[in-house]
């Protein structure tokens, strides 16, 4: 509640600030203007937005509007409508123009379709390389999910997950020209997201461009559109499932079974087990389970509020965004109940014209994370602490020693904390008396740019200089208290009566001060300059860019700053808008290479053709749009050169060496690797081709095929040089691998009636392959990675359990330790009678091959429903955490119930229990491997947009929306329960939220 008051007062404060301009000038003279908005053919444009002096009204069914203005203020009005080009006119000319005529936007060529590549801009239709552009404003109409990378999920063909384009790995995310953590950005703050899907589109990003590149361009103020947006969302997260561990009595029984399997005597006697099972005395026979209401809340709550203000005019524009996101934890005890995760962010920028030649941009953002956590690791401990170790809470009435009791610190005035000499960490004690651990992360970003209009030299020439800074630090504030725990012991008195005593371990010590630990610090600086030349000669349209780009990143504890530098020239050209070409040449420099290899040259080319603009298709009523394109490029990268100075011989100073009995010590000096002056760039070669097709203005189909090869990867060829070299190698350009596949996206929409719908699906399928691998000579062919998928998982092929000793004797000898009936039997792949490393082969792969996304968007008048889901097939996972691999003294989960015993031999789902490490059973094999195929409905949102129903000049007409939203609503999978279960960390949740958005 306290937080809510804070939020409301903050919101009021912001409204007041901006409201000053709205309400402060009421005494000025007023006048009214009105007009009609029509399209090129004279039809009225309904629901067009007319912006004037900070207000907005919409046109009615006849296209007409009227608005009251103040005389002394700006006389410019801005008229916008969906599918039309915006128009700016002065009220002074109203007398002359009877009607305001809006032009329809051309497909992919309107003012909203300009793609901002940071270094240059181009209309989407004229881009020859393969890209996908996302307009967050459009998304936010029906999907209010705010994490910017998550917004890409299921929407971009070729994208696995949220950032892996074409299976090339995690993308480099460039926020406003600088690689930044996209976690700091909310969808609301973003103007445009551009996913660069081939080498040609990425080339300008130099050595980084070997990986996928995703551009996130944040919002700027828009001239004549004054907006104040407030958005709030309140949500609850509902845990899906908790681990299921055995109760104490079952655990004891099965642990005894494990011991007996190992030929050892039982550890728990039957009386202890019986007493534990009956719960006769929970102090002496504890049976603790941790996933209950003593420790946990049913749900955790969170909220997210944001306000955004923007506006301006021809001279200057501004944009401010402020947000606060807070989510609580699930713990219900002590400091745990106070657990919270907070993020405050402010992002603001201004653009202003210095004079007719120069414009300046200043921007900055601060993101401040502060999390409150209890000490102790509840989730980790609850998954490892056995139910029978000690009673967590002991009623104080059980303690007869009044002196000890008087000195004890009680929980809730009535409980002592349990423990033993071996286990002195009490889960409850950690939460109530342990202290806290608050972590803080701060990210400061500062951006400045100067734009020069060099039209006085030659028309169309501009220049830009941009400097970007990012500062990041983090630290933890810890208060670490100690607390006493009490171990119950029974002592038999001489009288023969059993009596309960307690042994105290540790002391109750509250620390007087906090300690600040683990500070982390990063400083990044990017500088780039561009020269742009945009000019059309007859039907030849030219867009030239020259770029110099340098980055520097300093990380705490790293001696060498990560530095990069590249120079680039890019030409985008089209003839009549039908034949497109894009040529780039990039000279990259690296501090990881030296001499003549310090700089590399990366050329790329992309070609495109738009047949639908040709005469033979121009008036075709079925094919509205068709574009085909292809690109080729070679990109030099130092991404896979893992350290600096690999080109020269390396020595290190090693550990102390001691002679005799430790008197004479000297530091060892080691030689690590040899110099290789020929060490050069790793190269990526990529071919990509595809098409985009629009049929009947309703069906959109796009497809793409990409072949990407990475070669000259730097490795040490340890398996190549004869042993006599002594094992000191050089780093060489040697390995290569490729990635090949494609994507298809299909979208069908119908918005001709009140009931509008849009359904989209996309499929992505890529296969990686290792072409050349530095690997040892194996005795069997199936152990080689070369020629197989790079993400292959090697393991043994399980053939069930050994039935009896005859089965063991008849089977090949397994060399991982002694086996007995109930142990996993492996297949002898090379038929040599021995199961060893030569009997492992590829049994799966770790990345999904096929991923698909489905989205459905329905709208009836003001009510909308949106659903988004993704799924994958073609990936295998091992379930091998301590929850599934239960041996030794690990905590027993319900998984072990299906264990092998002589009686259950035919139905067993789990190997026989073992009280020791069992190297035979617990190794990567098909036994533990699961096909990880799933479909998840990530988002469902029901939206009611009030502003659609309001009167044209209502104050809330700029936007007024309420919604309910759910995330992670359900999963369909054979291994759904395993997928949805977290062990040793907070559970996965389903999220339900209610939200409101208002724009003034």
């Amino acid at each position: 509640m306290k937080h809510l008051i804070k939020i409301i007062s903050f919101a009021l404060f912001v409204i007041l600030l901006t409201g000053v301009s709205l309400f402060g000038q009421k005494t000025k003279k007023k006048y009214t203007i009105s007009s009609v908005v029509v399209d090129e053919s004279g039809n009225p444009v309904v629901n067009a937005y007319v912006w004037a002096q900070g207000k907005m009204v919409t046109t009615d069914n006849t296209g007409s509007f009227s608005v009251n203005l103040v005389k002394s203020r700006s006389n410019v009005i801005l008229v916008e409508a969906e599918n039309f080009e915006p128009l700016k006119i002065s009220t002074d000319t109203f007398a002359l123009v009877k009607k305001i005529v809006l032009k329809h936007s051309e497909f992919q060529a309107g003012s909203k379709d300009v793609v901002n590549f940071v270094f240059n801009k181009e209309k989407q239709i004229d881009v020859a390389s393969t890209i996908t552009v996302i307009d967050p404003e459009e998304l936010l109409k029906y999907d209010n999910q705010q994490r910017v990378m998550v917004a890409l999920r299921g929407r971009v063909p070729g994208l696995y997950g949220t950032n892996n384009v074409n299976g090339l790995g995690a993308a480099v995310v460039i926020v406003d020209g600088m690689e930044q953590d996209p976690g700091n950005i909310r969808v609301d703050e973003v103007e445009q997201i551009v996913i660069l899907r081939d080498a040609a589109s990425r080339a300008m990003y130099g050595a980084q461009a070997d990986k996928p590149v995703i551009l996130i361009n944040t919002k700027r103020g828009e001239a004549y559109k004054t907006k104040l947006k407030i958005m709030g969302e309140f949500g609850v997260s509902d845990p899906i499932s908790y681990p299921k561990f055995l109760n104490a009595a079952d655990y004891m029984t099965l642990y005894n079974e494990a011991l007996s399997n190992d030929g050892l005597a039982p550890f728990y006697d039957s009386l202890t087990i019986a007493n534990t099972r009956s719960g006769v005395d929970p102090v002496l026979y504890p049976d603790e389970s941790y996933y209950n209401s003593t420790y946990l809340k049913d749900v955790s709550k969170s909220f997210n509020i944001q306000t955004e203000a923007s506006g301006g005019n021809d001279v200057a524009t501004y944009y401010v965004n402020f947000g606060w996101k807070r989510s609580g934890g699930l713990l219900n005890v002590g400091e745990g109940a106070k657990q919270s995760f907070n993020r405050l962010n402010v992002n603001s920028n201004v653009d202003f014209k210095i004079n007719q030649y120069m414009k300046m941009y200043l921007g900055g953002s601060v993101v401040y994370d502060f999390n409150k956590n209890p000490r102790g690791d509840f989730w980790g401990n609850s998954a490892t602490f056995h139910p029978d170790w000690y009673p967590v809470l002991i009623p104080s009435s059980r303690m007869e020693d009044s002196i000890l009791l008087a000195a004890a610190r009680l929980v809730d005035g009535q409980y002592l904390l349990g423990g033993t000499s071996e286990y002195q960490t009490n889960i409850y004690g950690d939460l109530v008396f342990g202290g806290y651990n608050n972590s803080t992360k701060r990210n400061l970003n500062f951006r400045t740019a100067l734009d020069f209009d060099l039209g006085f030299i030659t028309k169309g020439l501009t220049a830009n200089v941009t400097m970007l800074f990012n500062l990041y630090d983090s630290f933890n504030t810890v208060q670490a208290n100690e607390y006493a725990v009490y171990e119950p012991v029974t002592v038999t008195l001489p009288t023969g009566v059993d009596s309960l005593y307690f042994i105290k371990h540790n002391e109750d010590v509250k620390q007087g001060d906090q300690s600040v630990t683990s500070s982390d610090f990063t400083r990044d600086m990017n500088v780039f300059g561009t020269l742009n030349y945009i000019r059309s000669f007859n039907n030849h349209n030219l867009n030239l860019t020259a770029l110099a780009y340098r980055t520097e990143s300093q990380v705490n504890g790293e001696f060498h700053h990560d530095k990069r530098l590249h120079f680039a020239l890019q030409a985008m050209y089209n003839f009549k808008g039908k034949y497109l070409a894009e040529l780039s040449g990039v000279v990259t420099g690296s501090s990881k290479l030296s001499g003549k290899h310090q700089y590399g040259f990366s050329p790329t080319v992309a070609l495109g053709w738009i047949p639908s603009k040709e005469d033979f298709l121009k008036d075709n009523s079925v094919i509205n749009f068709l574009k085909v394109n292809a690109s080729f490029g070679i990109i030099n990268t130092d991404n896979y050169i893992n350290d600096y100075y690999l080109y020269e011989t390396s020595y290190t100073t090693g550990g102390l060496f001691t002679y005799g009995n430790g008197m004479y010590k000297n530091r060892r000096r080691r030689i690590n690797y040899l110099k290789n002056p020929d060490l050069s760039w790793v190269k990526r070669e990529e071919i990509s081709t595809g098409f985009q097709l629009d049929l009947l203005n309703a069906l959109w189909i796009e497809a793409n095929y990409t072949y990407s090869k990475l070669y000259d990867i730097v490795v040490q060829r340890k398996n190549y040089y004869p042993a006599i070299t002594g094992g000191v190698y050089q780093y060489e350009n040697y390995e290569s691998k490729m990635n090949q596949g494609g994507s298809v996206a299909i979208n069908y929409h119908n918005d001709k009636h009140d009931f509008k719908y849009n359904i989209g699906v996309n499929f992505t399928y890529f296969v990686p392959k290792a072409l050349k691998v530095e690997e040892p000579k194996y005795e069997v062919d199936y152990r080689y990675l070369e020629g197989n998928p790079t993400d292959s998982k090697f393991g043994w092929v399980a053939e069930g359990f050994f039935r009896d000793s005859a089965d063991i004797a008849n089977h090949a000898i397994q060399t991982f330790g002694e086996v007995q009936p109930g142990d996993i039997k492996y297949k002898d792949l090379n038929n040599d009678g021995i199961i060893d490393n030569n009997d492992q082969k590829i049994i799966g792969n770790s990345n999904a091959r096929l991923q698909y996304g489905i989205n459905l968007n329905l709208k009836y008048k003001a009510l909308g429903l949106f659903l988004l889901g993704t799924g994958q097939t073609g990936q295998e996972s091992y379930f091998k955490s301590a929850y599934y691999w239960v041996y030794g003294n690990r905590k027993y989960s319900e998984e072990v119930l299906g264990r092998w015993t002589e009686e259950t031999a035919s139905t067993a789902t789990y190997p026989r229990l073992s009280s020791k490490y069992n190297a035979n059973n617990f190794r990567n094999s098909t036994f533990w491997l699961y096909e990880n195929n799933w479909f998840t409905l990530h988002t469902a949102q029901l939206t009611y947009t009030f502003s659609d129903r309001l009167k044209p000049n209502s104050i809330l007409k700029k936007g007024f929306q309420v919604y309910v939203r759910a995330s992670n609503l359900f999963t369909i999978s054979d291994i759904k329960e395993k997928r949805e279960l977290n062990v040793g960390k907070a559970p996965q949740t389903r999220y339900y939220a209610l939200g409101l958005k208002v724009t003034f």
Partner: protein
């Protein structure tokens, strides 16, 4: 006017920012890394570079999971997947080629080509060659310092070649630092050719290295604490051993075509051994008295097991429980059963080994006059039997529970890992076990060369070259004398006169003496059986044990297993990737 202003702004912003400062922007950060200059221009850091070679020396009893250092008829293991187990069944390929992920297959095994003699040896050779190549860089050093550095480099270059060729046969002799572009296809030499190169380097080392580091200026700063360093004596002793091997039947057969001793090599071996004995006569070395003999192998006082008898061993710094029962590399993993809180894998002595201990009267047990009583098989034996081996009803420690139960049904007899009824005591001081827990000061090391072995080399070489009563020219010490010095130290009488009449009779006693004195040390028995060309014989291959009841009312000799030893097992196989690189490096026969 205005236009000019903007050009200036542009030039002053863009040009300097992006072009001028780019020249050295990507260069190496000054002071980053350790350069060649830092390493090779001062004695201390140069020595630090050479200290790597000491680290590359392999401790044969210090490797994970039952290494089977004996590999012969001295010890056997019930763990067939341990390298000892693999040796027993002749799976030498399994011994050298074990994967890294395989817990049970001796991932740090001394014969594993990724970790042991093989790779550490070649790495050491490389360091030695670099050290020799970089000597001209060392300007600010005394002549003595330069000599010490050069001497150690020669010593280790020879030592590492020796350690590989001892088990794999003749190899290329690498005496240069390979550059990646060099032709590395150097052909294999014969065993004798390899030894000639090894001897050459040991000779250079013996010239350059001191008899005692305490007497040098460098070592004098740490007087009394120089144990472990390479010395003149070590170079000469290993030279003697290399020559002895080169003249032995297996190696001589390669060049001379017959499985006989080569008397030329025997003469040279005897002379080299005598050079070491002369050092002992000068007081540099001395045999430890018998009561203290375990000090050569293991201690409980945290000090290094190093005596006047020790000539060379790896500097092992592991102390305490870590040295005894650490999961990775520890003594306990080799010779001590799990119930003493070791690490489970146990190699145990065979009856074959026990039978080699003579009676205290100096007669072998099969001699009718020896007085050997099969009903009291452990009584009245060579004192070394009790010093090196534990048997039934003996206490392995102090507490009662440490009493060994090897009778049928006894606690230790039921242990599947232990195939025989004996345990190795040589490295296992009383009290170092899970019952007594006196392991805090435990430290052990396997002697890689000790004076006793030098006497035995001398005895064998002289006997083969000149007969039992011969000696090298100018020496009074005969083969027999040398042998008796070792026997007398163990309170054993001189070799009975029945066996001293001719070279062949004495040869048998010398072979037996080596087996008894040097048991469980660095696979001496296995190496000897190979070089004498007897390892394929049934006497060597058939492994026996005793079975008896708790009250010792009967003793049955039972055959436990037959070691697989074919012709190809005389040499270790090379890793395939090595022999497939070029034709000049053929695989050993049969692999």
């Amino acid at each position: 006017m205005k236009k000019i202003d903007f050009k200036i702004i542009l030039l002053s912003l863009i040009v300097p920012l992006f072009l001028v400062s780019c020249e050295d922007y990507l260069d190496k950060t000054p002071d980053a890394g350790v350069s060649e200059q830092d390493v090779f221009t001062s004695y201390v850091s140069y020595q630090g570079f050479e200290d790597q070679m000491y680290a590359f020396v392999v401790e044969p009893n210090g490797s994970e999971n039952s290494q089977g250092t004996e590999n012969g008829d001295h010890t056997v293991s019930g763990l067939f997947w341990s390298s000892c187990g693999k040796f027993q069944v002749g799976n030498y390929r399994g011994v050298i080629n074990v994967g890294n992920s395989n817990y049970w297959s001796n991932k740090h095994g001394i014969f594993n080509v990724k970790h042991g003699y093989w790779s550490a040896g070649w790495a050491g050779i490389r360091v030695a060659n670099i050290a020799l190549e970089k000597l001209p860089m060392l300007l600010n050093a005394t002549d003595e310092e330069k000599q010490l550095l050069e001497g150690q480099a020669y010593f280790f270059r020879a030592y590492f070649h020796w350690n590989i060729c001892k088990r794999w046969g003749g190899i290329p002799y690498v005496d240069k630092v390979f550059k990646p572009d060099d032709d590395m296809r150097i052909p294999r030499l014969t065993f004798q050719e390899t030894v000639e190169r090894i001897v050459e380097d040991f000779d250079k080392a013996a010239e350059l290295l001191p008899e005692d580091w305490d007497e040098t200026v460098v070592g004098g700063q740490f007087k009394g604490y120089n144990a472990g360093r390479a010395t003149k004596g070590a170079a000469l002793a290993f030279k003697a051993k290399a020559l002895l091997y080169a003249g032995s039947p297996l190696m001589n057969h390669e060049t001379e075509g017959s499985y006989t001793f080569n008397s030329e090599y025997m003469k040279r071996a005897a002379e080299a051994a005598y050079d070491v004995i002369k050092l002992a006569d000068k007081g540099v070395y001395a045999l430890t008295i018998f009561q203290d003999i375990q000090k050569n192998f293991a201690r409980k006082d945290k000090t290094m097991p190093w005596t006047k008898e020790t000539i060379f061993q790896k500097i092992v710094t592991r102390v305490g429980a870590r040295a005894f029962r650490a999961p990775s590399v520890a003594m306990g993993t080799v010779y001590v059963p799990n119930r003493f809180k070791s690490n489970k894998n146990t190699e145990s002595p065979t009856q074959n080994m026990v039978d080699m201990f003579e009676m205290a009267n100096g007669l072998p047990i099969d001699d009718p006059a020896s007085g050997y009583d099969p009903m009291h098989p452990w009584d009245g034996r060579d004192p070394r039997f009790e010093a090196f081996i534990l048997h039934d009803q003996q206490k392995a420690g102090i507490k009662k529970q440490t009493t060994l139960q090897f009778y049928l049904g006894g606690m230790d007899q039921r242990n599947a890992n232990i195939l025989t009824c004996y345990l190795v005591r040589k490295y296992w001081p009383v009290g170092v076990n899970g019952y007594d827990k006196q392991w805090n000061g435990y430290r052990y090391a396997t002697p890689l060369m000790r004076l006793a072995e030098v006497y035995l080399i001398y005895a064998e070489a002289v006997n083969e070259a000149y007969g039992p009563n011969g000696s090298v020219s100018g020496a009074a010490l005969t083969a027999l004398d040398a042998l008796n010095i070792i026997r007398n130290r163990a309170n054993m009488p001189d070799v009975d006169s029945k066996f001293t009449g001719d070279k062949e009779s004495l040869r048998k006693r010398i072979w037996n003496e080596r087996s008894v004195e040097l048991c469980f040390e660095n696979g001496q028995r296995w190496d000897d059986a190979r070089r004498w060309h007897i390892a394929h014989t049934n006497e060597y291959k058939e492994i026996y044990d005793l079975e008896f009841d708790k009250k010792h009312t009967y003793f049955n000799r039972v055959k436990r297993l037959t070691i697989v030893f074919e012709d190809r097992h005389y040499w270790m196989p090379f890793p395939n990737e090595q022999t497939e690189i070029y034709v000049g490096w053929p695989q050993n026969p049969g692999w």
